[in-house]
């Protein structure tokens, strides 16, 4: 164990956590802004610290874009009363937000967000079983929600928790199945290897489009986003599994949801859209200079942000699925489709070899 490794890992860790948190904060803003535009509104454009108006041009512009809103949102969560209702199961009640957030943050660890900078690989943990790790961690995310629903000792959170456990377990299967064609084609579980394969042979979305569609829809379900946001269906369940939560504990659930969005987008980019590579401008091989390393990170971020916008956009596009429709779609459509997809991919590979 050399010190170099530890220090660089810690630095990368700090940067990744910081960036993910920042993304979470600003994706909430993006959510509000995009929803506003789609609904013919303006969106947050007032919030500003007192010094903002002294900055010429930029200050009012940033205020107009709502760039200070996440700060205010965060502060609001901090200063709210952290209320624990009577009758909750205390230990689980306190544990649930942490259990929800930790897996959401852990998933990002294996994602290669850039090629190399200097001698450092731009990935926190270059695991040989990157995908398996991700699926293992993602499936832990359900515990947070189930615990929250159970600990609240109240019917609506309980319904939310139950719904979400059923939903997440169902969609995890089709999600896992959908990735198998990718693994068959590439022949490796390491995410960095998958990316370098895509750099050589073209993006995997062209080889396995059905797999991508199933993966995307399943990740909507996994992250509890509309049209699959049954665990927090406001109209039916008051607020879903986090009804009884307030203040920072509620914020942690929010954080978990949006970090899941970030990591799902990152996974989609990594698995199907070539990660940090671009097929032109010589960006398809590991960086030789610092500027190129930065360019790779920029490419990855741009691709990821695109999928974040898709996540947000879809929320304002579709109504919520009914529960039986959701289960029907998961079990009777996506699962067979994924299985057939595996079969066809395997046959195709066998024919070619």
């Amino acid at each position: 164990m050399d010190w170099n490794f530890i220090i660089f890992s810690l630095v990368k860790l700090a940067i990744i956590v910081g960036v993910v948190q920042g993304l979470v904060a600003y994706s909430v803003l993006a959510e509000r802004k995009i929803s506003a535009w789609i609904q013919d509104r303006v969106g947050p454009n007032r919030c500003a610290p007192p010094f903002a108006k002294y900055i010429p041009i930029l200050g009012p512009l940033l205020t107009r874009w709502g760039m200070f809103q996440p700060l205010a949102d965060g502060l609001k969560f901090m200063f709210k009363e952290d209320f624990t209702p009577a009758g909750v199961k205390k230990i689980y009640f306190f544990l649930a937000p942490a259990v929800a957030v930790i897996p959401a943050m852990l998933t990002v660890a294996v994602i290669p967000f850039g090629s190399v900078m200097g001698s450092q690989k731009m990935v926190l943990a270059d695991l040989n079983v990157g995908i398996l790790y991700t699926f293992g961690i993602v499936s832990m995310g359900v515990y947070g929600i189930v615990l929250a629903g159970y600990a609240a000792n109240s019917k609506y959170p309980f319904f939310g928790g139950i719904r979400s456990s059923a939903q997440m377990i169902s969609y995890e299967i089709s999600m896992g199945m959908s990735v198998i064609p990718v693994l068959l084609i590439v022949g490796n579980l390491n995410l960095s290897k998958i990316i370098s394969w895509q750099a050589d042979n073209g993006w995997l979305v062209m080889y396995a489009p059905i797999a991508f569609i199933i993966f995307m829809v399943s990740s909507f379900a996994e992250t509890n986003r509309t049209p699959f946001d049954l665990p927090e269906a406001e109209t039916e369940l008051v607020g879903g599994y986090h009804t009884e939560y307030s203040s920072m504990k509620f914020a942690l659930f929010f954080l978990a949801e949006y970090s899941n969005m970030v990591s799902s987008s990152a996974m989609m980019v990594t698995l199907f859209f070539g990660g940090w590579t671009l097929p032109f401008w010589g960006l398809d091989h590991p960086a030789t200079s610092l500027a190129m390393g930065l360019a790779h990170i920029g490419v990855f971020m741009l691709k990821m942000l695109f999928f974040m916008v898709v996540f947000i956009w879809v929320r304002w596009m579709f109504p919520r699925f009914r529960y039986d429709q959701l289960m029907d779609l998961g079990w009777r459509t996506f699962l067979p489709l994924a299985l057939v997809n595996i079969l066809i991919t395997a046959l195709w590979l066998w024919m070619r070899s």
Partner: protein
């Protein structure tokens, strides 16, 4: 009686959700585009933009002055009496108090307070006023940082109320008095 609604079974094309997805994309992009680039926003940015309120809108009641800048209120206390939530409080000048700022008017209030927290904008004060001295005007955003701020005194009410013409009873009285004096008496 229960009515059975016939539902058309979905065609295979519809079952794929694709038409719905394309429809959703079309509608949302159209709205986002119109909002972002064509400025078709349905909301108003309130403190900067305000509604033009209807002509007979009943907002906050203010005291008004007449065409010549005189206080119209004669401290008759009818509005205080009629006010359902008891928001108006008038301090009359008393016997040795200040006289009205114009001739032929009996008196004017030493103090006139409206508690805007109590006022219900019913308009009874305006209806009952014999001098047309108080009007419900178009102000609807009455704000203050504390309770004392919300009690409007005479100066504030008069400055907010502005001028409203209309009847000038004291003037008529003056003219009547002059006419009386000039009346040719035949002995």
């Amino acid at each position: 009686m229960a009515i059975t609604v016939d539902r058309k079974p979905l065609t295979l094309w519809e079952k794929l959700y694709l038409p719905a997805i394309f429809g959703g994309i079309k509608v949302t992009t159209r709205h986002a585009w119109n909002t972002l680039f064509r400025g078709k926003v349905v909301t108003m940015e309130y403190p900067e933009q305000k509604w033009t309120v209807p002509e007979h809108y009943r907002g906050a009641p203010y005291l008004v002055k007449d065409q010549e800048g005189n206080t119209k209120c004669v401290s008759c206390q009818l509005c205080e009496f009629v006010c359902p939530p008891k928001a108006i409080r008038i301090t009359p000048p008393g016997e040795s108090g200040q006289k009205a700022d114009r001739t032929n008017a009996e008196k004017m209030p030493a103090e006139f307070e409206i508690n805007m927290l109590r006022c219900i904008y019913c308009g009874m004060c305006q209806e009952v006023c014999p001098e047309e001295a108080i009007f419900l005007q178009k102000d609807y955003s009455i704000t203050g940082t504390n309770r004392a701020d919300m009690i409007y005194n005479k100066e504030k009410l008069l400055s907010l109320g502005g001028e409203v013409g209309g009847i000038q009873k004291w003037k008529h009285k003056l003219e009547e008095a002059k006419a009386q004096e000039n009346f040719p008496v035949k002995l």
